[in-house]
Symmetry: C2
Subunit: 584 residues, 2 copies
Amino acid sequence: MYIENINAPADVKKLNEEQLAVLATEIREALLTKLSRHGGHFGPNFGMVEATIALHYVFESPKDKLVFDVSHQTYPHKMLTGRKDAFLYEERYDDVSGYSNPKESEHDHFTVGHTSTSISLACGLAKARDLKGEDGNVIAIIGDGSLSGGEALEGLDFAAELHGNLIIVVNDNDMSIAENHGGLYGNLKLLRETDGKAACNLFRAMGLEYLFVGAGNNIHDLIAGFQQVKDSKAPVVVHICTQKGKGYAPAQAHKERWHFSGPFDIATGKPLYDFGEEDYSSVTAEYLLQQMKKDQKIVAITSATPTVLGFTEDKRKQAGKQFVDVGIAEETAVALASGIAAGGGKPVYGVYSTFIQRAFDQLSQDLCINGNPATIVTFGASVYGMNDITHLGIYDIPMMANIPNLVYMAPTTKEEYLAMLAWSIGQTDHPVAIRVPGGQMVSEGKTVTKDFGQLNTYEVTQTGGRIAIIGLGTFYALGQGAAECIEQKTGIRSTVINPYYITGLDENLLQELKKEHDIVVTLEDGILDGGFGEKIARFYGASAVKVLNFGLKKEFLDRYDTDEILKKNHLTVEQVAEDILKLL
Amino acid sequence: MYIENINAPADVKKLNEEQLAVLATEIREALLTKLSRHGGHFGPNFGMVEATIALHYVFESPKDKLVFDVSHQTYPHKMLTGRKDAFLYEERYDDVSGYSNPKESEHDHFTVGHTSTSISLACGLAKARDLKGEDGNVIAIIGDGSLSGGEALEGLDFAAELHGNLIIVVNDNDMSIAENHGGLYGNLKLLRETDGKAACNLFRAMGLEYLFVGAGNNIHDLIAGFQQVKDSKAPVVVHICTQKGKGYAPAQAHKERWHFSGPFDIATGKPLYDFGEEDYSSVTAEYLLQQMKKDQKIVAITSATPTVLGFTEDKRKQAGKQFVDVGIAEETAVALASGIAAGGGKPVYGVYSTFIQRAFDQLSQDLCINGNPATIVTFGASVYGMNDITHLGIYDIPMMANIPNLVYMAPTTKEEYLAMLAWSIGQTDHPVAIRVPGGQMVSEGKTVTKDFGQLNTYEVTQTGGRIAIIGLGTFYALGQGAAECIEQKTGIRSTVINPYYITGLDENLLQELKKEHDIVVTLEDGILDGGFGEKIARFYGASAVKVLNFGLKKEFLDRYDTDEILKKNHLTVEQVAEDILKLL
């Protein structure tokens, strides 16, 4: 096998085109085996095999710098830059992350996991090169799906200002995670259909030179194209047309399903594990579809991740014009929601905690200053969420809960979540966000009767004395557990509180607690800095009440073991109970 | 005068074209008088007089909905929608805000002050209209300068997805606040030069229909153009070419200087008040220009507000390629800075507190996860900063200081600021942000010898007992004042501390304070929620030390009187001292 002898890009250059084609086959075989056992991003990597080989054949990495957008298509790049073993040998599968990673290799320049950043980052590398009077190519590699993001479009616009070498490889596979949405995709189609010759050209309109390579899975054509732009003195776009999932029939046929896959059976493509039971995503879609039938003004919004809201292809069809995918464009998603609410519609924007970060200013300016009653549902906002450093869901409380006018809520069960969603859709007074709990969905079957319009009213779920435990969202159960543990150990019955609201204090209740309690404890499923617990600590700062805040340390974690991290942060039932008792 | 009889858009429709031209002259005269006495946005409003008249002549506001981007060009719109008195009569000048404002009029749909939001917001209004089965036009009005912002480009791309009425008026005056930067401006130029006939067309590439109106200050042509697109069934761009500052010679000649103006002498255009003394902006440019000469790797970055860094036109020329204006594109500015730092350059990005909000995810993902040593300087981050609801600088601490890996610093004087800047540019370990103090620049002439590389080491500037006062940044002086006041009243000498760092605690010092202090006080020039003081409150939560946090309430303020707001938030020297003594 050729792949076994590839230890650096220099080894790629030793092969002839025929051998490179064999290498491509070997890479796909290794990927298929690894992903069938281990899971990972499938379609993006299968589509980029030839282009990655051609890039390393033509350019001189690391002197020439490759910046992969979102970087979930970097598996072939890793295989060609000294990290092949992590794809060839099962015991080494976890040696590498799923994204580009400067800690792994000098051929990676940024830790990247969000889309649409490559062009602007590459502009920075190019500018540094020019300031230092050096030479070399800087190459951003960006998928068509990522182009709709604001940062990518800003970068496309800014690139022309560099007046120096910058190569932007647009990997056009005519797909985002789901289908593409946005007017620019019509232009990409036009360019594909005219072999890049159409006069109306988005990239040229942005001031960039342009080269079309139709056969984006043909190594020969790719090499010729990259050689043509190598050492270009001006920013240039190379538009290559690839096939997502290329080389594995099920992935070519069902591109959305195969964007990312868990372990599967190679022969049939069927997943090895069935996550068939209902979860917060599926109950969201079910609930919204029901309500949409009764109310034409309800509209669900996604920014290119429709299934986070449970809207699989069939459900999107059912919703019709009451479902909007803005493409990868979180800023527009929030502004759109605000505009719809201002116009009397009832928008529900579902988004991962890690991606709502991309719309801070829109939350503040477009939505909250205007006080429009849009609903945002944040998913994966938990230590139990995604655990890659670029996809963590533990920072949204400081980011969102300190924006004035926003009502950010934390349900603890399915029933609370749906009741909050119903209340939020029905009301017209506040922008509302709901933080879907992490971990397994909890359903108690209990009817929730609380009037959520009475903002910042917490609920005492167990009355006790000396100790009051306020458990927010996912960590309410941890608080309950600690209370039980303390009662078993000491007979002291703690007061237990479900606060429901992240954005405000129930000052009456907190005041009242002073009478019979010495210690108030907070627990939150996110970082402590700027979070919920600190507001409680401030409230009691001048009083005799002692406050203990439990939550996560402010740090960037990466591919962590959840139990280990919980333990390290004193977040097991026993640790919480012990820490409280120490203070008593 | 016609303007005196314009109480609603219906009154505009009664005039013929000749009368409308007179109306335009009257509007300019009123604007000139008001702005010469009161100050405000000059160039944008003078350029948009005819277009605004034509819009109200053709469309039926408020049923047809006008959404002005950034909305600092809405003075003529306000004059035509029942708010003329605020421009005609000096005693009523302050009746209206400088931005669109739904609280003022049914003809305003959003409170807007940041750029690049209009298209996405208008998409929301259009979608709501379509969901409700209503009709009517939705019109976004956006300047060419705002087009480079990510949200605007996202919106342009998404608009085609609406498949319904949406009119995007692109007001092309070939300027941002300063000159435009970005490749798309070449395309606008090409379109201007070809009367909109060039085949390569950014807007068509985004899937939009397109109409060119070259004479954007000609009422006749504008009316004809708007009539042509009225009730369009598809999203369409109307590209109008206007002259910024039209009708006042100094403003036409010096567009950057006249984007916004304080009170001035109409005959000469000279400002009535001279703010000639040095400020944090001018010392920044002075310092950076000095350093740039010694080090080619230093580069200053702005996102379309070069003078916030002190880089007036002459200084930009001096800096040459060591000054980069990315245009209105804060996301790209942060990513660029990260990329430059990754490539070994030394970027310094200067930005208003209110605008760095537009790059939260880039701070977190592009910069801080990667730990690249870029420097960000935030200006106007203070209660003493801009006081329009859309431009407040009191939210950046919760936003930035809770991002892992960022070192966010708060100098209290010019000398500390420059020492921090020097340290930050010289080091290669951390992404650093520096929060320039608000209010008058304080200069003590003292040499700062502190090693800022010893992160999170606070400085005790006065040793005392019982009370410790930690005064952050601008509010350090307030802390000092309170300490003096307390000493005068009670003889108790407080410990006074300059913490320097917003992002971390000096745990050793805080621990040490417990011995001789009963009360620890924090003061910060920003909202309390998610801020600096709450971290201190959490630290002492389980101890006997009492903590008092001073700062601003989490709320959106608007056009406030600073003294009044300080008083309301218990932030005068006397109030702080009293509150502390009450607790003693």
